[in-house]
């Protein structure tokens, strides 16, 4: 049974490395922000950044495609920033709250919300975030933020929220 637990983490680690390499590789330097973000991963954010609306740390929602827990390239960078912050602040903890849109069955959706949140947790843990520092909770489709029953509402509801304890 052990490999089923460790394999995905290993794979995600690989994917992450590839993702980071993509950000910093000189071949794709078009995005200046990407470079500064990868610098931030090294812990440039202090605790006050959590209250700074201009800090990338203020972006705390990751969105997903239908039926999917795949994290986009752009969101990998954002997660890396949060992971870097958490890794350099072991006293700070976060809840990764997984959600789904209203389509599909409720119990499957709560499992899907958990899968999304765990995908983010695994990305974070390979960057040094402690196992108990990021806690996963899924609400499935039970707590929508958008009440519209259309594509835009569904898009906004398929999400993981990064909630810093006490912030």
């Amino acid at each position: 049974m052990k490999w089923t637990k460790t394999l995905p983490k290993y794979l995600l680690g690989l994917v992450l490395l590839v993702g980071l390499a993509g950000c910093t590789a000189p071949k794709k330097p078009t995005d200046e922000q990407a470079q500064s973000r990868s610098a931030d991963v090294q812990g440039a954010y202090d605790i006050k950044s959590l209250d700074d609306p201009n800090s990338p740390l203020s972006r705390r929602v990751i969105y997903f495609d239908l039926d999917s827990a795949t994290i986009s390239e752009e969101d990998r960078e954002l997660i890396a920033i949060h992971a870097g912050f958490l890794a350099s602040h072991p006293d700070v903890s976060a809840v990764l709250e997984g959600h789904a849109d209203e389509r599909g069955t409720r119990e499957y959706n709560i499992a899907l919300g958990e899968r999304r949140a765990k995908a983010i947790k695994q990305l974070m843990s390979v960057q040094g975030v402690g196992q108990n520092q990021a806690q996963v909770i899924s609400f499935g489709e039970e707590r929508p933020v958008a009440l519209e029953h259309n594509e835009e509402g569904w898009r906004l509801n398929r999400r993981v929220e990064i909630l810093y304890s006490g912030y």
Partner: protein, 436 residues
């Protein structure tokens, strides 16, 4: 084959206090070929108005089954209350196949004696005759029992009118806050009792086989936990509170175990919890999502949802001594989303949520032919639950973007909608036969 009878609203008004319909039932599609039956208003010999319109309750029950077409009250040509008063020739002219007559006697101290006879009109003979004693608060229930007797006598299948439905209601307030309620009502929507209120989500109610307790998921602590609640005493007992998901609990047919979903070992897996010993047995071992277990009626197998094949599909695993036996068998192959199975009490049908063209419908898998038959036509149908006799399926759907309950016969012919005044209604669970 279906004759649309649009908007025949059956107003189930009650004269008794303490008995109101929070859910009103609308027959959205009647069934051609339903058997014509006349339920004559029961004679009442009390001083005040009759405490319950027994005949109205029976008529509504039989009509909802889709198998009977009760005559409208104004079309009754006479109002006999005893077999000796019936002129069968009159009823034959109306093409009535069956006739129910009866009377209620007040015995004092809020006690009543209800007598009724079910007659075969063409033969002019009695099929069934009963005398039932009832107390005032139980009169509605007595009417449902009479419906069950009539249904059984005429179809050979037990009726499931004297049963309960549980469901979750949600009200959203302008402040953004939500109120979740767990409710229990008679199968016709009457006598709603709120057994639990919470500002946090309530999910997945499921009945104990004796109809006395519900198991459900509550987020009251901020994360999902499984609880059992007695619907009479309202006593609540926490059952599981493991790290991760505590989800989709369903009672075993013998009432001694729960099948449920836990993700404490890494990802969602099906477990069996023995309620007496609290011993937990893991049934599935797969890196995919395994959830939404449902018991086969013999308690020797579970069906469940898994996306191990890439999309959610229904699988079956045999269980012996709380251990998985043999290979896991995939049951559904039509489409890329089949989930949340519910099994009929005879094990012949599995109701499930089936996605087609991006819409979610209730479908039935016939376990003999392995064919899937789609029963509904909206876009967000979910949470199917069988009536105790396996003939009807109650489920959640939407009406003008509001969550409502609906029911459909297992052959897809009879449709009805149970609407509430406010809020969303969801996750209906139909009880087994009442044993008390």
């Amino acid at each position: 084959m279906l004759k649309k009878i649009s908007s025949i609203l059956i107003l189930l008004l009650s004269l008794a206090h303490n008995a109101w319909a929070v859910l009103t039932i609308e027959i959205t599609e009647g069934v051609e070929g339903a058997s014509p039956i006349a339920i004559v208003p029961f004679a009442w010999k009390g001083q005040q108005a009759a405490p319950q319109e027994i005949a109205d309750i029976i008529s509504a029950d039989l009509q909802r089954s889709g198998l009977f077409a009760p005559l409208a009250k104004q079309d009754l040509i006479s109002q006999p209350h005893d077999a000796s008063e019936i002129n069968f020739t009159d009823w034959r002219v109306l093409n009535t196949e069956h006739l129910v007559v009866g009377k209620i006697d007040a015995l004092g101290n809020d006690e009543f004696q209800i007598q009724f006879q079910l007659m075969d009109v063409s033969k002019g003979s009695q099929i069934a005759g009963y005398s039932i004693r009832s107390r005032l608060p139980g009169l509605r229930r007595s009417a449902h029992k009479i419906s069950d007797i009539i249904y059984k006598a005429l179809t050979g299948t037990p009726g499931a009118f004297d049963t309960l439905i549980a469901y979750v209601t949600v009200n959203q307030y302008p402040s953004g806050k939500r109120k979740y309620r767990l409710a229990v009502a008679d199968s016709d929507g009457y006598d709603e009792q709120i057994i639990l209120e919470s500002s946090q989500p309530l999910m997945s109610p499921n009945w104990s086989p004796d109809g006395k307790r519900l198991v459900y998921v509550s987020f009251k602590s901020g994360r999902p936990e499984i609880y059992i609640q007695n619907i009479i005493s309202r006593d609540i007992q926490k059952v599981t509170s493991f790290k991760g998901l505590n989800s989709a609990p369903v009672w075993s047919p013998d009432g001694k175990r729960l099948a449920l979903t836990l993700s404490k070992d890494g990802n969602p897996e099906i477990y069996i919890l023995d309620l007496a010993s609290k011993r937990l047995s893991r049934i599935t071992r797969n890196y995919a999502i395994d959830t939404e277990p449902a018991w086969m009626p013999d308690g020797k197998a579970l069906v469940f949802t898994s996306d191990r094949g890439g999309s959610p599909q229904i699988y079956k695993v045999n269980v012996s001594q709380n251990r998985a036996q043999g290979r896991v068998e995939r049951l559904t192959f039509d489409g890329n989303y089949n989930a949340r199975a519910a099994v009929s009490s005879d094990g012949r049908h599995i109701a499930l949520v089936h996605r087609i063209d991006g819409r979610f419908r209730i479908a039935v898998l016939d376990m003999r032919t392995r064919q899937i038959n789609i029963l509904t036509d909206s876009r967000l149908d979910e949470s199917p639950s069988f009536s105790a006799n396996g003939r009807m399926i109650i489920y959640a759907t939407e009406d003008s973007y509001r969550g409502v309950l609906a029911a459909v016969s297992v052959d897809g012919r009879a449709h009805q909608r149970l609407s509430s005044q406010t809020g969303d209604v969801r996750e209906p669970a139909w009880s087994s036969f009442k044993s008390h």
